[in-house]
Each structure stands twice: as structure tokens, then as C-alpha cells.
Symmetry: C2
DNA sequence: GCAAGCTTTGCACACGCTTGCAAAGCGGAC
DNA sequence: GTCCGCTTTGCAAGCGTGTGCAAAGCTTGC
């Protein structure tokens, strides 16, 4: 009872009194059809409710128009913001996004990429996790383009888009010093991804170069609750820090909430806080968090632009890699803006 | 340089020394293949890195395995949470999600559905906006199943999943009264969707039945900033409300922030607040918002379950419609929990 | 050894589309 | 009228699958 109610080019052709090729060409940009034929085809198509079958088209052209977005924790503010930009810009460039959710389990990303291969996706964008090298190769061999966002990896082939985590972290250290802070701390998660570790190392290094130590704590995954726990650990130390850089805005929100509501600490008077990502909540009055903005729009733009390049530079060893700058958004969680 | 590097069943068959049908059957659950043949096929497939081409399979079976999720404002907490549940549960039931972003413009949803038809999606789930009746019919005629989440609409055919917005709103009115509040207010957006309006009407009606008036204000879209604006309007009235029900948690967050930081109002002592959705931020210490939880997991489960039904009850006029209950999550923004 | 029944296998067609190729149509220059 | 060049059109060959059908193979019971 279900199917076979699809209208095919054959029926449109019959109704319009032209050949089936004419129909096909009408819907193929740049193909050679006379105005009169096109008009009749479009009219017939409209009447019948015809829509080109992209499965069949993809089969012929070896090009499905599908781009896989591989991501875990979609419901997280930063992730969902990036997702939004990517889907929007992909749509604008005539592609369509297939969303595959991964968990933290091993092989989760690999399974996602296999799915991408099955649907003959033109490309996959990986926002979380890292694929096994063999799978990466399999994808590339299948003519699938790969984009890694904020995943540091040295495999050649995929486009890599990264931020200047290390340098940014250095800038915030300077800002803390200028605000008169002397006991610096860094709050991190245990996820250990390259971007998070980059921020940590950059912060510690910059502080060291100014002759200061940094208390580093890591806990849990990168979320609000982890931030609270980190605050509890750090703010009960005998030498309480007077400035903390949180690897993530979510951590920072948790940290601030614990600091204020459990310890009665005033921010930024007694404690300066900075974060990273510039999620929407960072601008809410309860936080007014000074943070680094992920340039999500630019990230998406760069990715889509690369995916839309028809001719890939075959200068083989040409490993594409893009580095974007995270802008510091100055708010009110550090003294003396 | 690009394509034609795909491995097809043909090559696997040759390598395994069997017919192409044998390969096809090996990857078709429930088909008849001897263990020995299956083993050899799987081995050859593994060596060659073969993956069934789902475009071709979809073409044959008239069943792509694709489910379109049509949604605007993906980056919003409630939306992204629902999205997360849907993609996860779809994956678990062997489907794959295609994400289409709509804006508020007219025809945006229709365009999305046309895209769904082109990819011969098995189904579409609509989280935002409403399609034109003619497009709905077109989808149904194409054997595509439709799910409308929190969109009230009386077209027969699509599965409709809704909450008990009206009744929930009534319950919160009672809670406000019990907390001793006497000057009730309702903060809404101008979006005017049935669920938002249902909450408004339910609240006003319940208050009226207890002999109380409700000050209603509507502004902007359903976001944090709108909540702040609404607070500014309502809290500068001569008769300042002592309880406000916000149509959405995001509105509530904005409202609370403005109330506290701009007006120095203490919550819940001077003002009781309630929201709807139970987004993650509602549980943050800065808000501790009493709110109704959208049963996102159940919503997704119901949708996926219906989509997985092989036989649709053909008792034609059988219009499927599901009503779920939003549970009240009691926190600290109303006196006397 | 043979018939019957069941499982496994291969053939060939269909799905809806694109596109190279050659034929057809058209207009203009001579 | 003829020839040339250009645009438009139709034919037909694929793209990688699934599956009905009939043949083949195997097992069992006599």
C-alpha cells in the first residue's frame, strides 16, 4: 500500500510530449534545452508534483549532495551553535546535512563514517572524536572529503580547522595580571582534547614566562556540573586563587555559580573569571563572562567553501590547514575592563 | 581524480567467487544464503572495504532509511535537546537523520519538505513552523510519513504529538495562589504558536476561575532578550506583579535576570517565577527555576516508534494523535515548595 | 536408486536518473 | 540550392542495487 506513487521523469515527459532526456535536462543546470521545451516540462512537472529523485541522481553522478555532520553532545550550547551555522551554510550552497550522533565510546566515529560511506556522502565534517586512521583512508579513497574541526590530527588529506587556543590562553593570562591577580588557576575537564590541552598549556606557559605558578585542576566532562566541582576543589584550598581561566564557558558558568552561591565570593572583586567559546549564556546578566568567541560563522564558512571547491589542488602533499583567531569578548568577570 | 573508486557488489562477488546476488543477499537481513557463502562474501567485502550503496538500495526498495528533521533555531536549548533525542533514537532504530534548517520565512517549511521528497525520505518530523496543506498532501501521497511535534494542526494523516499545555498552566496558577501570590502575570512571546497560546489561555482561565486577573504581555521571539524586555515592561507598572509565569524557560531566565539585576527584586521572596521546558539552565544555581519538563525522550520515542511501525493502520480516518504530560519540576523560584 | 521437499544459487529485469553520441532542425552566407 | 555551424533532441547505455523465478543441489525417507 505504501510506495510506487512516485512520479518519474517518464510520466512528466509523456504529459509534456517530449523525451525523457528533455525532462532530465530541464532539471540539470547548464544543460541544453530550448525555452519552449523547458516551459512545457516545468508546467507538466508542477501539475504532477514531480521532484527529481536525488537517490537516482546521486547514483548516476556519484555525488549525492549529502554532507555528514558527525558530532556528540549536540545539545550543548557551543556544539549546537556550530551545528546551526554549518547546516545553514551547507543549505545555502546546495548541499544537505546528514546528522550523526556519536557517543564517547570507541569506534563511535568510525561507525558514523561507515554510515557516511553507505550514503555516499560527498563529505563528512567531524566535530567530536577522532576517526581511526584506516577509516580516514577508506573515506578519502572513496572520494569523500573530510573536515576536522578543532580536532588536532596530523593525517594528511582532511581539511583541518583550528583556533589559536595556545595564544589566546596567553592573552588572558596577561589580562589577569593587569587586573592585579596573583594566584592563577586553570579549570579543565578530563576530556583531554587537543584544544582544551592547548588552552591549558598556553595559559601555564604564559604565566610561567611572567614568573607565576598556575594551579591546574581537571575533572569530569566539559559541563556545568564539572565546573561546580572544580570550584569546590579550588576554593577550599588554603591559598584560594584570585583568577581562574576555565577551559570552557560551561565550566565557567558552573564555577561562577558555585563561587557565588556556595562560597559567597564576589566576582570580579574577589575573583576574576574567564572562559572560552562565548556561548549565549556567557552574555547573560548572571554571568557577564569575559571569554573568547569561537568564530563559528567563519569556521562553517571555511568548511563549506572548501567543500564547494570543484577542483581540489592535487599538489598532493598540500595539506590544507586553517587557523582562526578567537576574539576576546570583554565583559564584566575581570576587573578593569 | 574524484570518483569511481567505489567498490561495488560486482567486485566483491568476483573476489569471493560467487554471484552478485549472493553478495546482495548477504547484506539483506533475512535473505537465503548458506553460511559458507556468507562467510566468503563478508571476508571479501572486508578486504575490499565494500559498503552497500544505500542510494541504490533506496532506489530499488523505494525506502531510503532517511528521516528529515525540519527545525528552526537549532541552537536553542530546548530544540537541541529534542534534536539530540530524535537523532539518537532514530539511529538506534536503523534510520538516519537529515537535518533541514528553516527560518521564520513563509514557505521555508515547504521548501524543506520538497527537499525531503527529493531524497525520498521515509518520513519527516516537523519541530518548527507548519507546512502548507498542499505540501502535506504531496508528502503523504509520496508515501512519506509525517510527524508534527507541538504544532497543532487538524490535517489528517500526520502523527501529532502534543503536550497538555493548557492543563499544566492551570496547575501552576494553583501553585502561585498557594504561595500567597495575588497579582499574576503571564510573559509570552509574539510567536503565537498553539503551544504558547495554550499555556497563556490555560493560565488566564485557571486564574479567572479563582477570581483573579492576569496581566499578559507579549514581546519578540521566544528568547532571553525578550524575557528582559518583558520584565522591564511589567516591573515598572504601578501594580507590580508578584508572580509571573513565563511561556518558556528562556523567557524566564531573561525575566529573572532583569528582575534581580536591574530592579533588585528578590526571587522568590518578592516575586515568584515559573517557566516551561526545563532546559538545562533552569537547574543552574543562578536560576533554580520551577518549570514544566518537556518529556523530550518520550516525545522522540513515540515518534520513532510510530515511524518504525511496518503496517500503518489503514483504518483511514484513524487520525493518530498523542498527548503527553509535562511534569512539574519543583525548584526554588516559587515560595514554599 | 528414486521421488519429494527444502535450501541455495544464478539469471535477468527493474528502479529513476544522467550523458555521450549522432541525428535532426534551423539560420545564414555564398 | 548547398554547405556550414550551431542548437536542440532522442536514443541507449549505464550507475549499484533487490528480488521473482527457475534451475540446481542437498537431505530425507522409502
Amino acid at each position: 500500500m505504501s510506495s510506487k506513487i512516485f512520479i518519474s521523469a517518464r510520466e512528466v515527459a509523456d504529459r509534456a510530449g517530449v523525451s525523457r532526456s528533455a525532462v532530465s535536462r530541464t532539471f540539470t543546470p547548464g544543460a541544453s534545452v530550448s525555452d519552449e521545451t523547458r516551459r512545457r516540462v516545468l508546467e507538466a512537472a508542477e501539475e504532477l508534483g514531480y521532484h527529481v529523485n536525488h537517490l537516482a541522481r546521486g547514483l548516476m553522478r556519484n555525488e549525492s549532495g549529502i554532507v555528514c555532520l558527525i558530532v556528540s553532545d549536540v545539545a550543548t550550547p557551543y556544539r549546537s551553535a556550530l551545528l546551526r551555522e554549518l547546516t545553514l551554510q551547507l543549505q545555502n550552497s546546495g548541499k544537505v546535512a546528514m546528522l550523526i550522533n556519536t557517543d564517547r565510546s570507541d569506534g563511535s566515529v568510525d561507525r558514523a563514517l561507515r554510515q557516511a560511506i553507505r550514503y555516499r556522502a560527498d563529505a563528512s565534517v567531524i566535530l567530536s572524536g577522532l576517526p581511526d586512521k584506516s577509516i580516514t583512508q577508506l573515506c578519502l579513497r572513496n572520494g569523500q572529503r573530510l573536515v576536522l574541526i578543532n580536532r588536532d590530527d596530523d593525517q594528511p588529506g582532511p581539511l583541518r580547522i583550528n583556533l589559536d587556543d595556545y595564544e589566546s590562553a596567553g592573552r588572558i593570562a596577561t589580562a589577569f595580571l593587569r587586573a592585579g591577580c596573583r594566584r592563577l588557576a586553570f579549570a579543565n575537564s578530563e576530556a583531554g582534547t587537543p584544544s582544551l590541552m592547548g588552552r591549558e598549556r598556553g595559559f601555564v606557559a604564559a604565566a610561567a614566562s611572567m614568573g607565576m605558578d598556575v594551579v591546574v585542576e581537571r575533572h569530569g566532562q566539559t559541563g556545568y556540573e564539572a565546573g561546580k566541582v572544580l570550584a569546590q576543589r579550588m576554593l577550599t584550598r588554603s591559598e584560594r586563587p584570585d583568577a581562574v581561566f576555565c577551559a570552557t564557558d560551561l565550566l565557567a558558568c558552573g564555577f561562577m555559580d558555585a563561587a557565588r552561591h556556595q562560597f559567597g565570593i564576589s566576582i570580579p572583586n574577589q575573583l576574576c573569571v574567564a572562559g572560552f567559546d562565548d556561548i549565549e549564556q556567557a552574555s547573560w546578566s548572571s554571568y557577564e563572562l569575559t571569554t573568547f568567541a569561537q568564530p563559528v560563522a567563519s569556521i562553517a564558512a571555511k568548511a563549506v567553501e572548501w567543500l564547494s571547491m570543484t577542483q581540489l589542488e592535487d599538489s598532493a602533499a598540500e595539506v590544507p590547514s586553517i587557523r582562526l583567531r578567537a576574539e576576546l569578548v570583554w565583559r564584566n568577570s575581570i576587573r578593569g575592563g
